[in-house]
Structure formats: C-alpha cells, structure tokens
C-alpha cells in the first residue's frame, strides 16, 4: 500500500502515468496539447469525408449519390465539424503545447480546467455526430442555424444546441486558461511587448473567444426556447424577429472568423523569421495590427447580411468598417514580406506552408475587399464566390497555418525530424490541389451558382468538375501528412537537436527535443539585451 502511494507520488513528480490514466486524467500541458491536436486531426478527416461526399455529388449535374436533404446535412455538418472540431481545437492544442514553452512557464495556469476543456470536446462531437443516425437526420439548416429553417430540424435539434453549448464551454475554459497563463506565468523579464507573436496572437484570440462565445450560447439558447418553450424570439408569427438572430449570430460569427485566423498569423510570424534568418519586421506594429483587427471584428458583423434589408446608413457603415480591416491586414502582409526581404531564406516544409499562406491568404483578402463592396456583394452574397472567399482564408489561411506549425514544432514534440522529402511532396500536392479546388469556385459564383445546392444548371458543369477533382486530390494528399506525423510519433526518422532549425529564436528551442515532460520548473533567464526573436 505504502509502496503504491510512494510509487504514485514518484510518477507524479518524474513522469507521466501509465496507460489510459495518463490521458484521461491528464493535467500536463503537453499531453493535453497532443490530445487536442490528435482530436483535431481526427475531425479534419471526419469533416473532410463530408466534403468529399459534397464534391462527389457536385462532380456532375443531376443527383448521383445522395438526396438533397442528406446533402444539406453534409454541408451543415462539414462546417460545424471543421470550425469547432478541426480548426479551433488545433489552435488550442498548439497553444497548450507552445505557450508555456514560449513564455518559460512550467505548465498552463489551470491544469485541471485544461483537462476538462479538452475532455468536453469528444462528448460534444459524439452528440453532434450521433445526429447523423437520428430520425430526420443531422441538422440540415446550415451551420449558421438561421431560424425559422433550423426549427424544422428533427430529433437532432436539441442535440445540435447542446453540442454547441458544450463546444462554447470548452472554448471559454481554454481561453481563460490561456489568458491566465500568459498574464501571470511569463518568465521574469519577459514584458508583454517582448512576447513572441504566436503568444500575442493567442492572447488576443482568447479575449475574442471570451467575448463572443457566450453570445453564441445565448443565440442558440433562444432557438431552444423558441422550439420547446413557446417563446418567439425569432418567430415573426409570435412578434419575434428572424433577422435579430442573424445580428446576434454574426456578432459572434465575425470575431469567430478572426479566432480562426489570428493564431495562424502568429504561427506565420514565428516561421518566417526562422527561415529568413532575420527578426520579424515591425514586431510592435504587428501587435497593434492584430489588436486593430480584433477591435474591428466587433463592428463589421452585418456585412454577412447585406441582403436582409438594412437601412442605407447601416449598409454604408458596415461597408466602410469592413473595408477598414484591409488596412491592418495589409500591414501584416507587408511586414511579413519585409521580414523575408534581404533575409537568407531556405524553404523547408514549414516555410513553404508559411509562404503559401502569404500568397493564398492574400487572395482570400482580395476577395474579402470585393465582398465588402455592397453593390457587388449583392451579387456575390450566398453564391459560390463567397464559398471560394472563405475557403481561401480558412484552408490556405487557417489550415496552412496549422500544418506549417505542426511541421515547425513536430521535431520539438517528438524528438524526430519528419521526412523532409515527404513533407515537401505533401506541401506541393496540397498547395496545388487547394487552388484547383477553390479557385474555380470564384468563377462559379460570379456566373450565378448559389451555395448549398446539391444539383446545378448545366452551365456550371465544367468548373464543378474541376473543383471536385481538386478536392479529391486535396483529400488524398492529407494521408501523406498523417503518415509523416505517425512516423515521427513512433520514433522514426533522424533524432532532432534542441534547436531543430538553423539558430531559431525563442525559448522553446532552449529545451531538449523531445521536450521533457516537465519544462521550465525554474523560470528561464531572458537575455538582457532584447534578442532578435523578442524585439
């Protein structure tokens, strides 16, 4: 008995527990980060499978594989799974792994809450995915859950609402943890403005999450009471207002867009200086730019609703405010370019993803300016042009940020170098197919194809065919990524050095690879003179 206790304590202090207890009761930021990332990878494939079903049906006109209702379930679930299951948990996983390592903290500030915020997610998604097997099927009213349509959902409806509540809870707890960690647990001498950009981007993202997740929870709760308790928040027949839902939803939804991209900005700001061998250009103005974007994200929500019938003054305000976002976003793009300028660049896989991010996210930014122009947006709205736009900012934007981050830090996590050749093949296939998939969607939208349709008029045949082929290629290419990650996790490949790359800046490179279970039990010393990575 005594020996057992002694042994337990020994484990507590010297390493992870054995077996499932290590994961189920995990309080270590690295273990929880790993679980978040693996969960996210799983969801990427679940949501990806749905995308493949969508693109298979759209390969040719006519209905070949699915019924319209199932198609709508797929578009709805694809979005929910990708947003709340793939992109957001991936960034929280990266934050878990890297924020303590980058600020010299021994762990996250609230490790038990960290455990809870992760373990909520599998249950939330079990609830959500179980709706696929319910009578009436999964939610099919779009991920935006607009009433009155969403109220026509069958048995899945309360499960949808409850799973969104759970995802929100998880996100809020994750965000609180990140803020508390960053604010309280930085190494001595690491002032806020000395923090690495990834940490900065997450600090601001976490505030966005805390600000808007409760708004989403409120909106879906009102849906719930409209459905089951006789309220009429959004039902015109009872004196309610269906448009009010859209205002509330997008007050959440627009900052949500930045929640999914700001951490990717942070990742790119880490990767480019390392491979350009040159400090990040304009560190402070990058911080101000992120802050400006975060602020503006709260006052542009109605640009998702230019066709609902707003007063002219409202449309003008939201048009101008939306266009303004291009300014700080532009500053970031220019600063990254200036970081590369006169550097000494090499193009390993993380850098390739970062550079592709720069080019392709900018294309998403251009179409972003276009959709801000209200008269033109009247044409773009709810067409495939919008589908192209947001996939350009979410796939080569957020997803490339995540993939770049994984390649960048995988050697630190696993202690093994990934296979560079395979990584480059993965990159090129991904980068080519992402364009084959999404670029033609601009054309389809301009030519008049609405989004969320399972079948289309025959003049849209050609580009849909191209987009589908691209999507299949894109989907298949991701198996290379899985192979690479699993190889490293199983200890194959060259052992990685502590620095991994050529003299990278940042505290995470001062600990061995793989990072030991406990790091920075004694706070590290930050060089007195601002080191390039921190200034």
């Amino acid at each position: 008995m005594n020996t057992a206790v002694a042994e337990l304590e020994a484990h507590d202090h010297h390493g992870p527990e054995k077996g499932f207890r290590r994961w189920l009761f995990a309080t270590n930021h690295k273990d929880i980060g790993t679980m978040y990332l693996l969960f996210s990878l799983t969801m990427l494939f679940v949501g990806g499978t749905m995308a493949m079903i969508i693109r298979s049906e759209l390969l040719a006109p006519g209905l070949q594989f699915v019924n319209p209702d199932f198609f709508n379930q797929m578009t709805t679930m694809h979005a929910l799974v990708m947003i709340f299951g793939a992109v957001m948990p991936a960034f929280v996983g990266l934050a878990n792994w890297m924020v303590p390592l980058m600020i010299g903290a021994p762990d996250m500030a609230l490790p038990r809450m960290n455990n809870l915020s992760f373990w909520i997610l599998p249950f939330a998604f079990m609830l959500l995915l179980s709706t696929l097997f319910m009578s009436g099927g999964a939610p099919a009213g779009g991920w935006t859950m607009y009433p009155p349509l969403v109220l026509q959902t069958g048995d899945a409806f309360p499960f949808l609402i409850f799973s969104v509540h759970l995802m929100g809870l998880s996100s809020i707890m994750g965000a609180i943890n990140i803020i508390v960690t960053i604010v309280n647990m930085r190494a001595p001498d690491m002032s806020l403005l000395k923090m690495p950009m990834f940490v900065w981007s997450w600090l601001i993202t976490a505030y966005l999450l805390i600000a808007v997740m409760p708004v989403l929870a409120g909106a879906v709760t009102m849906l719930l009471t409209d459905q089951f308790f006789g309220t009429s928040f959004f039902l015109a027949a009872g004196g309610g207002d269906p448009v009010m839902y859209q205002h509330i939803f997008w007050f959440f939804g627009h900052p949500e867009v930045y929640i999914m991209i700001l951490p990717a900005f942070g990742v790119v700001s880490e990767i480019i200086p390392t491979f350009a061998r040159k400090p990040l250009f304009g560190h402070d103005s990058m911080v101000y730019a992120i802050s400006a974007i975060a602020f503006l994200s709260f006052i542009v929500w109605a640009h998702h609703m230019f066709t609902v019938g707003m007063p002219l003054s409202g449309q003008l305000f939201f048009m101008f405010a939306t266009m303004l976002i291009a300014v700080p976003t532009g500053v970031k793009i220019f600063n990254w370019t200036a970081t590369m300028w006169r550097g000494s660049m090499t193009f390993e896989t993380p850098m390739l993803f970062a550079v592709a991010f720069l080019f392709l996210f900018t294309i998403g930014g251009f179409s972003g300016v276009m959709v801000a122009i209200v008269p033109a947006d009247i044409q773009y709205h709810d067409s495939y042009f919008v589908v192209a736009h947001f996939h350009y900012v979410l796939v080569p934007g957020a997803l490339f940020g995540i993939l770049g981050a994984v390649y960048y830090w995988l050697p630190k996590w696993t202690g093994r170098m990934y296979n560079e050749k395979l990584g480059q093949i993965h990159f090129w296939l991904t980068a080519i197919f992402v364009n084959v998939t999404f670029f033609p969607m601009h054309f389809l939208g301009l030519a008049g194809m609405p989004r969320r349709i399972p079948d289309y008029a025959t003049q849209f045949t050609d580009w849909n065919f191209v987009a589908s082929i691209g999507a299949f290629g894109f989907g298949l290419s991701q198996f290379i990524f899985v192979y690479i990650v699993i190889s490293c996790m199983r200890g194959r490949g060259e052992p990685a050095t502590a620095e991994v790359w050529d003299n990278p800046k940042g505290l995470e490179w001062t600990v061995p690879s793989p990072a030991p279970f406990h790091t920075f039990e004694v706070p590290p010393k930050i060089p007195a003179a601002p080191a390039p990575g921190f200034s």
Binding site: A60, G62, Q64, F65, N67, P68, D69, N72, G141, P148, L149, A236, P242, V243, A276, K278, F281, G282, G309, L312, M319, M323, A326, V327, G330, V331, F334, A338, W341, R342, G343, S344, M345, T346, V355, L358, F359, I363, V369, M370, I373, V374, P375, A376, I378, Q379, D382, H442, F443, L446, A447, G448, P450, R451, R452, I453, D455, A457, T458, F460
Partner: protein
C-alpha cells in the same frame, strides 16, 4: 449508379467540346444598375490585380534573390517607421477610391421611389408566388416539369438533354421593358432569397418582413435566377425566371391574366 455517373462524365466531355460554359465572370446584366455594379466589381478586381502584382512581385523577388543558397548574409533591420506609415496610408487611399463610387451606387440602388409597377414576391418551400399589385393578377411559379422529372436520383435522364435544367419554371414573372418595377419580398415559411444575376438583384424574403428592391430592365428576353438562401430540402429547385417584354406586349399579357371580374349583382358600390 456507376453507369449513370459515366453517362454524366461522357455528357460532360461532349458538353465541354460543344458549349463555351467555362464562364469566369459576372454578367454585365440588363439594367443601368447592373452595369454599374459590374463596373464596380471590375474596378475593385483590377485594383486587386494591381496590388497583387506589386506585393506578389516583391515576395517572388525576395524568394528568388534572398536565398541562403545564393550565399546571402541576412540583413539585420527589423523596423522602419517610414515604410510602415507608407503601407498604412496607401491602402487607405486606395480604399477611399473604391468606397466613394460604391456608396454612390448603393444610394441609387436604395432609391425605389415612383415605381411603374409593384410585384409582391412571396417565398414558399419551395416555389415563388407573384402578385401584381393593383392588377388582380397573381400566380405561383414552380420548377418546370422537364427539370422536375430529371432532377431525382435514379431518374436516368441526362440533365444536359433538359433545356435550362433547374432554371426553368412553369410561369415566369412577366415585366415590361423600360419601366421601374418595384419588388416587395416576403415569405410564408422560412427565409428565401430572390436572385436574378442579370438584374443584379438579390434580396431576402423573410417571414414577417417586407423587403423592397427595384429594377428597370433595358432589354427584352428571359432572365434566370435561383433562390439564394438555404431554405430546406428543395432549395436548389425553386428557380426564378423573369420575362422582359415590350410595354405593349405586357399590357396585352396582363389583361389576359386578370381573373374574370365577378358578377356585379349584389355588390355594394365602392
């Protein structure tokens, strides 16, 4: 299923050879405002292309020239106030250049005064209902039969053989050329959206709300669109067809559509 898919693929290859369907741009449309909208779209597009040439050019240049393999030693600079102020101000100016004409067009779009005719459009799952205000003419407009037969899974009808597949209706909305038509939109069930690209019109039909848009078609012909807001299972199957005819033809048409007047007997004088 495989057979049907291969049928479609064959049809597709044939179609590629015979029809120029690789459309890449927005239609210019048939109203003054649709042409203006197209102009704005192209203006912003060309600005984006210009900026892309400069920014991507700089990125490509540095990626080619400043490589380690060329033996470059990295520079040390990490900020420049002048550069950052410049690339903050220039975008602001470009945005202003875009914003002013956009606002002007938007103001014209919102000016729906003095219409010649008013049509009330009501969205239903999944069809449209049109009422000519003050004309005693109203009817439903649903997906044309040929499309309806071909659209089901296992229908074994190649969509390429159906004329205007999914974009044809039994009864189009008929309007006169050159007259300002006001469209009032509402819905009977869920939110729909009435979109005709050639008219540069898209507006949501929302239950409990009456939305307003207008257009003035300058050309005759048939112009096709679709519901743009996800409205349930058959969202893809409620197209819109607007037939623009000469004013005289419109008068004849609307007279022929009026419901026969009820017998005057027993009615009180208005």
């Amino acid at each position: 299923m495989i057979r049907r898919l291969s049928l479609c693929l064959t049809g597709l290859l044939v179609a590629t050879g015979t029809r120029a369907d690789w459309a890449v741009n927005m239609p210019r449309g048939i109203t003054e405002l649709s042409a203006e909208t197209y102009g704005l779209h192209m203006m912003v597009f060309w600005w984006c292309v210009g900026i892309a040439v400069v920014v991507f050019g700089a990125m490509l240049y540095t990626m080619v020239m400043h490589r380690k393999s060329r033996g470059v030693t990295p520079a040390k600079f990490s900020h420049s106030m002048t550069a950052e102020v410049t690339w903050t101000i220039i975008p602001v100016i470009i945005l202003l250049i875009m914003a002013v004409p956009s606002a002007e067009t938007l103001i014209r779009i919102e000016d729906s005064r003095d219409p010649a005719h008013t049509v009330v459009v009501t969205g239903y799952q999944w069809k449209w209902h049109y009422t000519y205000q003050g004309e005693d003419v109203s009817f439903y407009s649903t997906l044309a039969r040929a499309s309806s037969e071909a659209r089901h899974k296992g229908a074994n009808i190649d969509p390429a053989t159906v004329e205007n597949y999914l974009l044809d209706v039994d009864r189009p909305l008929v309007v006169p050329r050159g007259a300002k038509i006001r469209v009032l939109l509402t819905s009977n069930d869920v939110i729909h959206s009435w979109w005709v690209p050639e008219l540069s019109i898209k507006k949501d039909a929302i239950p409990g709300f009456m939305n307003e848009i207008w257009f003035q078609a300058e050309e005759t012909g048939l112009f096709r669109g679709q519901c743009a807001e996800l409205c349930g299972m058959d969202h893809a199957y409620m197209p819109i067809v607007v037939e623009v005819v000469e004013p005289e033809a419109f008068e004849t048409w609307i007279d022929s559509q009026r419901e026969p007047a009820e017998p005057a007997v027993g009615r009180t004088a208005p």
